[in-house]
Subunit: 145 residues, 2 copies
DNA sequence: GTAGATGCAAATTTTTTGCATTTAG
DNA sequence: CTAAATGCAAAAAATTTGCATCTAC
């Protein structure tokens, strides 16, 4: 195992900031926004610029090390590509998010590859609806219109 | 007379701008960004403000008439909720987009509803990869690192 | 020593908001 | 008539860029 948080790609340097970003990703099991990462890092590097985060995320994304996903709130969130493939179910009412650990898309991807001759490298999937609590509230407050 | 592109919801008026937005959605079979709509409408309403588009999209989305989706380029795109449920396959290389008319998620939604007790109202799914042409280019230019 | 990375500030881009005016019903 | 909608301008929020300085290798 590599065991380190280094970006072993020729032409790129392992700065402490970059190493820390990778560490933060490894310590997290949810997708993180640039600001999430920024806040976590500010504690260690008070002079840190948010542009450093964005520039690193750009590199990490282009190298396929992290995956970028833009959620329906308009904010991009990132996660390690090596993290087990996850999808999320988000409550429209209270924003509570639940992980889904089924991903039924592998077989779909294969059949679409066959149909389109694309080389499919990934997908983003987010489900949304109302959680049990908000569902209940909705029902209670009536459902006219 | 009541045009077919009218928003028949109490408290809302059928302005010509709003009617036109609905018409544009009906004429389009791809998701449109606020700017896409703005450009199409400017031709007819040169004084149109983009805030009018955003405000209408907000209302239409909140009424469930259109669906908002934020693509991986960070731009929100909208489509009629009544439009047949579509997903897209986008080429990372050239941005070419292909429609997929399979949506395998209905059954997944049901099983997740059962597991989580959520009331799932929808999902967003986007697939990405390399189209035949770009795939070829990638192979030709080698794949060393 | 040098290419690449960083911090800082300013610029861009997309979306939202305040307000005076106009319009649909 | 009047609540809702619009146009315009300015503000926010997220992200990107230019540049001088710094750091990993």
């Amino acid at each position: 195992m590599l065991g380190k948080n280094d970006l072993n790609i020729e032409g790129y340097k392992n700065t402490k900031q970059r190493t820390k970003i990778l560490q933060i990703f490894k310590d997290s099991n949810i997708p993180l926004s640039a600001e999430d990462i920024f806040i976590r890092m500010k504690e260690y590097y008070p002079l840190l610029a948010i542009s450093t985060i964005y520039r690193n995320l750009e590199i990490l994304t282009s190298k396929g090390i992290v995956i970028k996903n833009i959620f329906n709130d308009g904010i991009a969130r990132y996660e390690l590509a090596s993290t087990n493939h996850r999808h999320h179910l988000k409550c429209i009412g209270c924003n509570m998010t639940v992980d889904i650990d089924a991903c039924p898309l592998k077989s779909l991807e294969h059949s679409i590859e066959a149909q389109t001759d694309f080389d499919i490298s990934g997908h983003s999937l987010e489900l949304y609806g109302y959680c049990p609590k908000c569902k209940k509230k909705n029902t209670e407050s009536g459902s006219s219109n």
